[in-house]
């Protein structure tokens, strides 16, 4: 242990700790901007500088290791002068439009400016005059707001191993740019949106489309139908002042009705359906010697990644559409017929934890219903804004049930929102199909949790199925490299693009720390445990759709509506 003094307080911390960590233990929060709890130390913003006795220079608290007997002072006049001036410098090169900014009231720079009561900036404000990059349907980049902390680069390269973002130019002309400075769409960006979570300010954000929803709601001819992904509920409460997981599903349903949706359905319904289709696809591949290991296909960021970096493994991808797109194809066919609504009038909106879903919905092939299957994708954050605007007090809002035919779901669908969830849901069903016995303990705990790559073996009446689960694309890359090299004997691999799975998706409430992701995962499993039905194949509405429309898994109708194909994304710089 190392003993030191910070602002007169004695602390004892493990060797290798930084001043920042030691200060936290002493109950002193040192301000930061480029520092990120789950990333390597960068020490480039210099906001965290402190005085260390014996040093002429101020030391960055985030990068300076503590030493025995060190005497640190975190708020001397010299320190405050430096931090204030550094903030003034950053702010003077930042648009002064907080009121219009998507990150207003959720911005680390704004918080710092308030903490250090920056009033009259002595430096003349300059704007850099860069154009917005709106080249993708998912993500918008505003270089003018970039503070060059480089957290997005870390997220894109270290966490996701996509390397779509890098630096160009130097000095005050430095900028974070997609590959070779071209628009984001030309880069290998998979649109996962992890860069958005990493950004402390409003320099990267989702393609906000709330206005399009409001226009559809205002249109008397349109029947506005929504689906909600399983990861949305556990995090949406965070946007409206509630704790993670505390917003009850039925209250959320009523909230959506209040803001103008005509029908509220659930993506969980098609998550259950996905399990039936994908589980049977796996069994078919196992029986008939199809391409193995089979990869899950629910995560559109992952699909983009596979199509970009592992085109040789495209045949390993399950042909199942994601639950969002299965839903989209069914709502304008099966559901429209059930409800006797002209599918041409249906405006299908999905509420997703994901930015890549916006892209997925826009893929040209996603129109098997004869219409655009999903008309609009809104992220959890966008719905959060709409809810805040609505003025609803959610603690007083009465519960409401989902609308029929595509609103029922099981615990197996709920856990799609967490890493390992699709695998566990599939195992719950596949076990019972193969063994024809009831699964006594539905909990497959070995595939749960935040570990990057998880493995398990499941004995299905003598047939051992080996499975792996990876989340975060750098973990996916490790598994894919093994598959490509023929070094693993998995049968089934679940991949989620985002750390933690969909609960950590690029469209979720801004999530700086992985600890928050773990909290949401807990909420997901609590919801699963509380549901009466926890196996997808026992969903009554799923049984009904097979009776009435699909007839059998992987059948003719399934192929028409629920399955898809993939193709190599030939990015020019790869």
């Amino acid at each position: 242990m190392i003993n030191l003094t910070i602002d007169g307080i004695q602390v004892s911390v493990p060797k290798g700790s930084t001043i920042l960590q030691a200060a936290a233990q002493a109950g002193i929060r040192i301000p930061t901007l480029c520092w990120h709890p789950d990333q390597a130390v960068k020490a480039n913003c210099r906001i965290c500088v402190c005085e260390v006795e014996g040093n002429r220079l101020l030391q960055a608290a985030c990068s300076t290791p503590v030493t025995d007997g060190m005497v640190v002072k975190t708020k001397t006049p010299k320190v405050i002068e430096a931090r204030t001036m550094i903030l003034e410098l950053i702010l003077a090169n930042h648009p002064q439009d907080c009121l219009n900014c998507i990150r207003n009231q959720n911005c680390e720079l704004q918080d710092l400016a308030a903490e250090y009561f920056i009033r009259d900036n002595p430096f003349e404000n300059k704007t850099r005059g860069y154009e917005l990059d709106r080249s993708t349907p998912s993500i918008v980049r505003d270089q003018n707001k970039c503070v060059l902390c480089r957290r997005c680069i870390d997220a894109c390269s270290v966490t996701q191993s996509v390397y779509a973002l890098g630096l160009e130019n130097r000095g005050v002309s430095s900028m974070v740019v997609p590959t070779l400075g071209e628009p984001l769409i030309e880069s290998p960006c998979v649109m996962c949106g992890q860069c958005i979570h990493a950004c402390p300010v409003g320099a990267i954000y989702e393609n906000e489309q709330i206005d399009e929803l409001l226009a559809a709601i205002a249109d008397p001819d349109k029947v506005v139908v929504t689906q909600i992904a399983p990861a949305v509920r556990v995090a949406l409460g965070e946007e409206i002042g509630m704790k993670t997981g505390d917003l009850p599903m039925e209250v959320l349903v009523n909230g959506l009705r209040q803001v103008g949706f005509d029908y509220v359905l659930h993506t969980n319904f098609t998550a259950d359906l996905t399990i039936i289709e994908e589980g049977n696809e796996l069994l078919k591949r196992l029986k008939e010697g199809g391409t193995l290991p089979m990869f899950t296909s629910c995560s559109p960021g992952w699909i983009n990644f596979c199509e970009t970096f592992y085109p040789d493994l495209i045949d390993n991808l399950s042909t199942c559409k994601s639950p969002q797109q299965m839903f989209g194809a069914l709502v304008k066919t099966y559901w429209a017929e059930k409800m006797n609504i002209d599918p041409g009038n249906i405006y299908s909106v999905s509420i997703m934890p994901c930015t890549a879903k916006k892209y997925e919905a826009s893929r040209p092939e996603m129109c098997d219903s004869g219409y655009r299957d999903v008309d609009l994708v809104l992220t959890t954050r966008e719905i959060g804004r709409l809810f805040r605007m609505s003025g609803i007090d959610f603690s007083k809002l009465a519960p409401s049930q989902f609308d029929p035919w595509m609103g029922q779901y099981t615990g197996a669908a709920v856990i799609f929102g967490a890493t390992g969830g699709v695998m566990e849901a599939a195992l719950r069903t596949v076990y019972e199909i193969v063994t024809e016995q009831e699964l006594q303990d539905v909990n497959f705990r070995m595939v749960r949790g935040m570990e990057g790559i998880k493995e398990a073996e499941v004995d299905l009446n003598g047939t051992v199925v080996k499975v792996a689960v990876a989340h975060g694309l750098s973990n996916a890359r490790k598994v894919m490299d093994q598959v490509r090299a023929g070094q693993c004997d998995y049968h089934f691999i679940e991949i989620m693009a985002c750390p933690g799975g969909c609960i950590g998706g690029g469209g979720q409430p801004i999530t700086k720390a992985n600890a928050k992701r773990a909290e949401r995962i807990d909420a997901i499993y609590i919801e699963d445990e509380g549901l009466p039905i926890r196996k997808s194949h026992n969903n009554p509405e799923v049984k009904m759709i097979y009776n009435e429309l699909l007839h059998e898994p992987l059948g003719y109708k399934s192929h028409e509506l629920l399955h898809t194909h993939y193709q190599f994304k030939n990015k020019k710089y790869l």
Partner: protein, 407 residues
Amino acid sequence: MAEEQRIVLRNYGKIDPLKIDDYIAQNGYKSLEKARAMDPKAVIDEVKKSNLRGRGGAGFNCGQKWSFAYQAQADEKYVVCNADEGEPGTYKDRLIMENDPHTLFEGMAICAHAIGAKKGYIYCRGEYPYIVEILKTAISQAKEKGVLGDFDIEVRSGAGAYVCGEETALIESLEGKRGEPRFKPPYPPSEGLWGKPTIVNNVETFANIPVIMDKGAEWFAAIGVPSYPGTKVVTLTGDVNNRTFFEVPTHTTIREVIYKLGGGTPGGKKFKAVQIGGTSGAFIPESQLDTPIAFDNMSAIGATLGSGAVFVLDETREIVDTVTRITGFFEHESCGKCAPCREGTARCAELMEKINAGLGSQKDLNLLEKLGRVMTYSCLCGLGQAAPTPALSTIKHFRADYEAKFI
């Protein structure tokens, strides 16, 4: 009496740099032979005892630096020569490499023996392509002769970024990355090139080593100022009659360099100021010219020895205009990694331009001083920390020149 004393330039003009036999005939590679017969620890002790301090500008005790890398446990260690001589007005490293490349290799090889390295790199300034050729030819001759033994030296060329003279930015660049400094600690002797213990020394530092090994630490420690013994190569530019280089013992004063060796200012014009150590150095007024060209003596007057560049301005030069150009240089050369340097160098330039254009006021000068002060102690690397020095030192010594420009 100011006189030249040539240690690092001892072979200048005496040998053909492209003939290794010329170097060997001057007792070349004898010091390496001697060092290799010694225990590495003893070599380091000798260098420590000589009190040789880094000639790149930071003035760190060379032997002490080596001892850190010696103590570090690693499967691989590296010796890197900083030959990214980007400091305007400085060409001392070029002189050594151009005229006596083997003295550099010998110094590096002694260091390699001392710390346990097998591989060395010379990171050569991008604007010195012909030096790269000389170095490569000389290395192949040394390999052919077998004088370097199992120590391998490779030459790498920079790409023109001033910041790559900062040792960790140099290492990043060597690794093929964007040339930007790393935060310290860890320092290169414990974690440097590819995360391995690495000694980065300046060309002039390495060139001293063979002589120290040959003549002994005591001989060297007795030359010049005891706290910074040996010689310093100074390169004279600007308003001085002898615009050339000299190698002088470190007790030589600035006045002696300018007037005795440099022959004073031309055309009977009066001296105004001298900037020592390169473009980030302080401007020194007439009253401080009796300061010796040694590290601590320069620090004592709030200046730096830096690279040893001596840039003389006579009375006809406009200080504020000169500093304005310098702040523009730093705006251009800031790598952009840390906020106070990235934004600060641009704002320094902006304020200087405003004042120089006759549009500034006391308020601007106060802000410039405050900004310079903050940059000095909060920037990530030496570039940002030193960038405001020309402005701050001239505000201190030539305030009237600024005030004369106010609205």
